[in-house]
Symmetry: C6
Subunit: 215 residues, 6 copies
């Protein structure tokens, strides 16, 4: 029951790495956005710590919206939903932080995610990336799934050094310590096909509200 890397041509979907008692696996962080009132919904049978990762990722983006040319009004005029598929499997822990951050930034900028890239790492509110566990199993799973680029915390470099070289042949490792570096590596400058036009949507939302008021 093995997942394979996919073309991430849609905004808001990024590949992460998970450790499970029976070995590593890749997982997908999916996110979407639609008109609403600023609510964040998180699904996928997640524990409290993993839900907190989503909250932290969104808070960091809100506080740094100008850096990514994101119009802050989006945060109060749309709802955001993050989902981690395979609902039958409970999931927890902070290691999907970088993946959630990348998914949300892609969603809000409509920028394409790099092909065949995966990542694992805890995030913090001031923008640091922290090391996580289960690296060997995660890397082997990534390789099996066709991943060619992996983003890790610098402090996880020592875990890679302990893996037999033939197991990681052909994988490029990107070691980072800041969340900004993750986004520089993982997000391309290209927009996805048929990107959401937030400005146009907000204007049309204003118009239909005004029409209601003047009925």
């Amino acid at each position: 029951d093995r997942d394979m890397a996919e073309d991430n041509t849609v905004a808001g979907v990024v590949t992460g790495l998970a450790w499970t008692p029976v070995g590593g696996d890749i997982l997908f962080i999916e996110s979407t956005i639609y008109p609403g009132s600023g609510k964040l919904t998180v699904t996928g049978n997640l524990g409290e710590v993993m839900k907190e990762s989503a909250i932290i990722a969104l808070a960091w983006i809100k506080a740094n919206a100008h850096t990514f040319s994101i119009d802050s009004r989006i945060f109060s005029k749309f709802d955001i939903h993050i989902h981690v598929p395979e609902g039958a499997t409970p999931k927890d822990g902070p290691s999907a932080g970088v993946t959630m951050l990348t998914a949300l930034t892609s969603l809000l900028t409509q920028r394409k995610v790099k092909k065949n890239i995966a990542m694992t790492g805890e995030i913090t509110l001031r923008g640091k990336v922290l090391p996580v566990g289960g690296i060997k199993e995660k890397i082997l799973a990534a390789k099996r799934s066709g991943i060619t680029d992996i983003i890790l915390c610098k402090d996880n470099q020592k875990d890679i050094a302990e893996i037999e070289p033939e197991y990681i042949e052909g994988i490029r490792f990107h070691y980072v310590s800041r969340m900004g570096e993750v986004l520089d590596i993982a997000l391309t400058d290209e927009l996805v096909d048929e990107p959401v036009d937030f400005q146009a949507m907000m204007e049309s939302m204003e118009v239909s509200k005004a029409l209601s008021l003047s009925t």
Copy 2:
């Protein structure tokens, strides 16, 4: 205590497939809509994962409303209720995802559901259909109940290959990998009898609000 397929002449009701410790069964996903403020209610003695399926289905429809010519204002001016009958039986798991998706899309477009069709499969926020378990028991139950068409995830095709051919005689299988394919197969282009006219209802809601304000 066996349920039989029914004419789905009403919008928002779709047949799913369930696995239980004593064999497969069909189940119905029922949905309805009425003036409100954008609330989603889910009943039927459901566990958290099954409730999440309903939330995911609605989020995906909200983010893809234009594809189905659904007026986005409906989501904030009506309440939606999803129910899975037989309240005495606790139910859980992600496999009703495709059924909930189809029910909600039928409800919001007022399109008729194909006759004698049933389905089972997990859904994700980016529009994928994932495989689920208990296929053999579910298929046998569907046959007993008069189902002629079944939608499954492509990754469940191997489970069908393992069933003795005489048990599945006369059933057409539709293997899909995307949620859009599910809707193409399951929803007809025909509206139900006496379809809800959302535009007329929203206009009449505006008028009665305006009358209140000018009292």
Copy 3:
């Protein structure tokens, strides 16, 4: 400690049937309505499934309000309260569904409930009545309490066939499969004495709000 059938001259009160470990019993579903903001309150030491029955009944009435000439604005300008007496006894299960449906429809239309009628059956969101258990005990209790008419799901007819005829002598059974049939049988066309005039109340609520705004 036996309850007896009562003249249901007040709107919103209907007799149901309950199964308990020490035999059947009749129970009353009571409902009331007063100016508010669309909230539904459910009391009586009820479990989750029984609370869901109340939510389903109200949702179905909201979605079918026009059928019963109920002004939809009532649902947002009044609060509704459903209570099941004898708070010391925990109660659960879906079988009070038809009773709650009938109580709420009587409440919202101010139509009288038929005398000496009782009922038991699960309801669904699309308007079906489903069979329930404990029929023999419930029927015996109804008889002891002076009930003359009982509404049951068609699928419960077989349970009646198994009861010795002398135990059910003098009781008329009404077998139904749709919620609309329940209401046709249980509600008379006569209004209760001193019916609530929702239109007058809503107008007076508007006036007093307007007076406040113009102070």
Copy 4:
């Protein structure tokens, strides 16, 4: 640690009767009201069923406000708080229903409660009083505390018949079956000293809101 009957010269305070593992006791239901937004708060270390009694009492009064000449706007412009003293003792059960009903009606009409009266009985949403347990212990406690008048459900009359006459000498019993009878017996027609003037308060609340808006 015995409580004694008190002059109920303040609105909203009524004496109830409680059964405890070590014998009966009297208890006080206290209620108060202040400008707010229609919230009901219930304190006193109460279980769910006892909290439901307070909700039922208030709902019944709201639905019958005109009977007691209570201005319905009070329910949305004030908050109501019900407290049952002696927070260290957990309390539960439906038997304080009549006491809560009487306390709230006194509070909202500012009518004095009869002196030296106590009561016990469950209430229902349609206005019935139901019998409760522990009658003998409750009556003995009432007598010790100086109570001279006790309101009970008619169905509890048989419990009184079983008590030795000398134990109840000098106590008048009032047997009721309707909540309106409770109020007729327990509430005098006299207002408390310095009654709250709800109309004046609401007008002054409007004025200060208008002043704010025109600043």
Copy 5:
């Protein structure tokens, strides 16, 4: 780890008495107020009964605001926070009621609390003070901490009578039965230094809201 009495020159801070398995202790009830929307926050690792004391104290003050010349609009335009220090220690029970009442009244009137005074007693919604336990241990702790005046419920006078006179030498006891008496004794007529000017703050809040609206 012994706390000592402190000069209560700040409004809203009052000394209470606590019983613990290892003897009595003094504790402080601290309260503060700031612009908000009428929310009450209670912290300090408190159990449900102790939180209820805070709610009761505030409700009683709201219902008696005129007695203390408190402008009722304060309750909806400010938030109030009550804290009981030493977060590592769980605390519960009703005996801090009088202390919370005094703290909140001092906070809302900005009146100074009497020096070297401490108190213990349950409060009720109609203004009574009820006796509490652990009196001997509490008194000894108060003496060790430099307390000179103690407020107790009249019904606790018998507990004082049982303490050896030399242990309570130099302490003045104030026995009360009403909450108004507590405030008469514990609050001076003097305002604290730099008292909060609620009227000025509310006016400035109105002005800045008006400026926003007219932008």
Copy 6:
């Protein structure tokens, strides 16, 4: 897996000290702020007492906003998020109070935190700093991490006196009893680079709201 002191050039991030079963550690309190509606979010796998510390710190700052020249409107027009990294580790207790206070004050004033400073101590609502446990382990961890200045409660001075002098060589201890002293020591008068301009942000938020209204 040892954390090292970091240049706190960003507002809202402060170093605290933690005790764990395997020795002391430093930890970081991170905070951030963004347009919102006055919500406080706290993440990091924290127990109830540690969450209360954040609430107390923010309440104290709100009540003393003028002292720090903080515009009170910020509290209702922005959301604040506090995070304590390393989500896999559950954390609890009141000892991060001073650290949270310093982080929030830095965030709201945009003042730089002193380099290489760490702190531990409980806070109270009236501005006191209380002693905490685990001092020896915390100090040793601070030294290993390159901390040169440590703020402690005066009542913790005796714990320092018990540590062998060579273990604390080169560390300056700052003993405090008031929260104002903590901020005097820990916050410099210098603003961080590219400080958030709250006034400009609030004006721009008003403008975009006005534009919406006049559409």
